[in-house]
């Protein structure tokens, strides 16, 4: 199971979304997130919901995988809802002792919850349909302009992909050392926090030594194979935009226009007192 870490949450399937250029997916995620913050009318959210459902269907990733990401934010979600529910003033709907729930509170709480859920689901579509390596490549190429202001984009991307390669190896090693220490009577599970932290020391020391040795070896192997940074380096799998990628950008533009329109309708409706 640990060995599969390299793939992150990637869910392999044969869909157009999977085949899209990672840059498109990065841009799409960004557009979606921005649209959630920029257009806040109910009509706009209906449009966003439709778009989200459509993309999920096209991606062929089972919705339950999308929901997995939500588990990690469930606390945040609850806190947000509770705070908004009780702290916003307005027309009181329910009163429990000193706490009041207002109409505005309910609206904001629901709105915030939906927004948070959409944010997480929206970005998990990207990580579920793109291998981490592909994502790193996309980031490298998309952020290349930052080179001009001396951000070492290539080096950061290289570090990310090496980390991806070595995380599972180091995890396995941690496991091995842990078992070896446990066989000699080490105890990683009982005691209070400080005690447990102390017990981790004999685990971390050999792990760090090994990680440094590996880093040293790897640097030498990379040099031996002619690595000298990003300059003059070509790509075996270069990112090239295909027709579908251009189409995807158009779809994004259309989405933004629809959201804009929906938002306008929402506003107009409110101003003229139609809703």
């Amino acid at each position: 199971m640990l060995r599969d870490m390299t793939l992150g949450q990637y869910y392999p399937a044969n869909s157009v979304i999977h085949r899209l250029d990672p840059r498109v997916k990065l841009a799409g995620t960004l557009v979606f997130i921005i649209s959630l913050f920029a257009f806040r009318s109910a009509e706009a959210y209906v449009a966003a919901t439709l778009a989200l459902v459509a993309v999920i269907r096209i991606s062929k990733v089972p919705p339950k995988f999308m929901m997995r990401g939500l588990k990690s934010i469930i606390m945040l979600l609850m806190i947000t809802v509770v705070f908004n529910l009780f702290l916003i003033r307005g027309t009181v709907v329910v009163r429990i002792w000193k706490l009041t729930i207002t109409k505005e509170g309910i609206e904001t709480a629901v709105f915030m919850a939906i927004r948070l859920i959409y944010l997480i689901v929206g970005s998990s579509i990207m990580t579920l349909t793109t291998t981490p390596n592909n994502l790193t490549d996309g980031l490298e190429k998309a952020l290349r302009p930052l080179n001009k202001i001396r951000v070492p984009v290539h080096d950061i991307a290289m570090m990310m992909s090496i980390a991806l390669r070595f995380i599972p190896i180091l995890m396995e090693e941690t496991d091995k050392i842990m078992k070896a220490q446990m066989a000699r009577g080490a105890d990683f599970e009982s005691g209070n926090l400080i005690q447990r932290a102390k017990n981790m020391v004999p685990l971390l020391v050999p792990l760090f030594i090994s990680a440094f040795r590996r880093a040293n070896d790897l640097a030498m192997a990379m040099e031996a194979r002619g690595y000298r940074g990003g300059e003059g380096r070509t790509k075996m799998k270069p990112l090239v935009y295909a027709h579908r990628d251009r189409m995807a950008y158009l779809v994004m533009l259309a989405y933004l226009l629809v959201m804009f329109g929906a938002n306008r309708i929402g506003f107009a409706a409110r101003i003229f007192g139609l809703s």
């Binding site: 390669r165 031996a224 194979r225 002619g226 003059g232 790509k235 270069p238």
Partner: protein, 287 residues
């Protein structure tokens, strides 16, 4: 023409004390003259700490001699401007397969060297295909290296070097961390590269089975080259090898013990088949 030519090559490691001042020096390689002919399969033997790895790192210009010179395919390794060509001419495979595979997918790792050389993508793909096929790992091109066996990983590492089309490959104990099957796989791959593609091979190893078929054997001790010759010549000196704390092939050892007991066997028997033949001859003479 020698593809590798070293003259009075020495290398000293500096050991630094806590303030970073040189405390002592270790002469890991000491006045080595080295000549390797193009297309040769050379095995390097030596006890732990005899300087084999240090010497190997010179051939790839990871280290440069503190004294003396080393020419790889006519290029001086001290010349910084030629360093990338030297690294392309002489590839290097290390002991631990996990610490030399860079890519998260087999084909991407093999493409790493050609990418560094700045080749166009189609040419890289061709090289990747060629080299993965040469080591018999083409079917695994889309796998994650983490899921391969040790021997397979090491073959991927070899393919990564082969993809740069080096004239010479230096392998520093590539089989030390493998099981017997993995060892056989790797050695067979290396021998095939040497025979079919005429790549010059320098193989550092502790396993005698891997030495028997070499064209030439070099024995190192305390930084010096102390013996050189064909496997037959080298393994004729069992006493000397033992004094240098080295193993000899099993058949050689048996023949040596029999010789000591008075059987008139020739020196330098390398394989059990050879030993059986010689014993058969002896029996013929007696009976």
């Amino acid at each position: 023409m020698s593809i590798i030519r070293g003259r009075k090559l020495s290398y000293e490691y500096q050991r630094l004390d806590e303030e970073g001042n040189p405390e002592s020096t270790i002469r890991a390689v000491d006045g080595v003259d080295l000549d390797v002919q193009e297309g040769d399969f050379v095995a390097i033997l030596g006890h732990n700490g005899s300087g084999k790895s240090t010497l190997a790192k010179h051939i790839n210009a990871i280290l440069v001699p503190t004294e003396g010179t080393l020419y790889v395919d006519g290029k001086d390794t001290r010349d910084e401007s030629q360093i990338w060509e030297i690294r392309q001419t002489a590839g290097m495979v290390f002991q631990n397969p996990d610490n030399q595979i860079i890519g998260t997918i087999v084909d991407e790792d093999v493409g790493f060297g050609p990418e560094n050389m700045g080749m166009p993508s189609e040419a890289i793909w061709k090289r990747v295909e060629e080299s993965l096929k040469a080591v018999g790992m083409w079917e695994y091109r889309a796998h994650s290296p983490n899921k391969l066996s040790g021997g397979q990983k090491q073959r991927v590492a070899i393919a990564g070097v082969v993809a740069m089309r080096p004239k010479c490959i230096v392998l520093d104990e590539p089989t030390a961390m493998l099981d017997p099957n993995g060892r056989k796989e790797v050695v067979r791959t290396v021998q095939e590269l040497n025979r079919k593609e005429h790549v010059t091979v320098l193989l550092i190893t502790h396993y005698m089975e891997e030495v028997i078929e070499a064209d030439k054997v070099i024995v190192m001790d305390q930084g010096k080259v102390v013996m050189q010759g064909t496997p037959k010549e080298i393994f004729s000196h069992v006493e000397e090898l033992k004094a240098r704390r080295l193993d000899v092939p099993q058949a050689t050892l048996v023949a040596y013990e029999l010789q000591k007991k008075g059987l008139p066997l020739p020196d330098g028997i390398l394989s059990m088949a050879e030993l059986a033949d010689e014993l058969e001859k002896l029996r013929g003479q007696r009976g």
